[in-house]
Amino acid sequence: MAENGHTNHTKTYLYIFGALAVLTAIEVGITQIGMPKTPMIILLIALALVKAGLVAVYFMHLKYDAAFLKVIAYSPLAVASILILMLSLEWAFQPHWLF
């Protein structure tokens, strides 16, 4: 069904909703089973990034948007990478790092 040139994405949206709900449940589950700390943190951050990506790409329509808009939308990731680099250095040089 396509009205006014806009295709019907309802099914996609519901799949994404299911994925987000399941991933949230998995995230909460992971914290409860008593995993070692470092793999748990890496896993949780990976899952969160997957969820954020799903929201941005499907709900915020980045998948269907013009390249021009994608450049704007993804530009903060450049700054994020600098921050991640700086925080990794901070992590690496912590003297009392106990994870």
Partner: protein, 314 residues
């Protein structure tokens, strides 16, 4: 110099209606909303980076929901409740995206329904967060100045909460605009004056109440200078006044600043809300307008997904 020369449109053919499209063919509102979201993302990134940096520095002393090691403090945060809150926000994101779809298809009733459900979802989120806050503050004794854990928690969740509140207001204005239907009017109607006077009255009310609690200020400074200036701002330029005063947020410790800020923000709400509804009602491309609002709402959801993982789960 005609208006047309100032517009970068892709030629809509109609010389009187301003085009809402940029020369790239993308809706102008979408470009501006993405630019706004970019700078907002940078702001959140600053908060997140500070939080992570502080956590790296404290290591195992940080109260964590995960593996409980000896010497680790008990985590006061309620994970199941917040997981429920996350679920509520995800649900409201789905209703929002369905509202955008319905708006593009010009299904007015469905748009209103999905938008209203989104507003309800956002309100439930805020309600749960209010309950969580009051429990943490009264039962667990958390406060901004007690510890790094408390400070980062309140800064991150509070800043996000303000975003949710603004989003709920934004979507509520859209619901009302959709329900009242399209109307283009440039004149200052009686309703506008009612809202304007209501706003000025509210600002004055807050102002005089807050000035009474400021013990150090002299009466001349308080009631002859600051109150009338605030009333003038609330009457003439509430939005500009707000924007100007946001620059004073870093000085929110110094007496007249928080008083003026708070009374202008809460006093101007009714008028700004009215203007928002009026502006939204004048727009013909409701599909694009709802889509832009959707971008904001999904961004708030996206931030919460990261915040929930970093602050609550890890």
């Amino acid at each position: 110099m005609s208006e047309l020369a100032l517009q970068t449109n892709s030629g809509s053919g109609d010389h009187h209606a301003p085009s809402h499209y940029t020369s790239t063919g993308t809706v102008m509102g979408k470009v501006f909303m993405w630019l706004f979201l970019c700078q907002d993302a940078l702001m959140f990134m600053g908060f997140f980076a500070a939080y992570i940096s502080v956590r790296i520095g404290t290591g195992n002393l940080w109260p964590s929901s995960g593996a409980h090691l000896p010497g680790m403090e008990e985590n006061p945060l309620n994970i199941p409740l917040t997981a429920l809150n996350t679920f509520v926000l995800i649900c409201s994101s789905v209703t929002m995206v369905l509202a955008v779809q319905a708006a593009h298809w010009k299904q007015s009733k469905k748009t209103i329904l999905w938008l209203a459900l989104t507003v309800i979802g956002g309100s439930i989120f805020l309600g749960i967060q209010y309950g969580e806050y009051s429990h943490l503050i009264t039962k667990d004794g958390m406060s901004m100045g007690r510890s790094l854990f408390d400070a980062t928690f309140f800064a991150l969740t509070g800043f996000h909460g303000i975003h949710v509140f603004c989003g709920v207001m934004y979507l509520l204005a859209l619901v009302i605009a959709n329900a009242m239907g399209h109307k283009k009017s440039k004149d200052l109607g009686i309703t506008e004056w009612v809202f304007k006077i209501l706003s000025v009255g509210l600002t004055l009310f807050f102002m005089i109440k807050l000035m009474g609690s400021w013990k150090d200020g002299g009466w001349f400074l308080k009631y002859v200078l600051i109150v009338p200036i605030s009333a003038f701002m609330a009457f003439n330029l509430p939005m500009v006044g707000l924007a100007l005063f946001l620059w004073f947020v870093p000085f929110a410790h110094y007496p007249p600043i928080p008083h003026v800020l708070l009374s202008l923000i809460f006093g101007s709400l009714p008028y700004i809300f009215y203007r928002g509804v009026k502006w939204l009602r004048a727009r013909e491309d409701m599909g694009d307008v709802v889509e832009v609002a959707g971008l904001y709402w999904h961004f708030v959801d996206l931030i919460w997904i990261i915040l929930f993982t970093l602050v609550y789960l890890i």
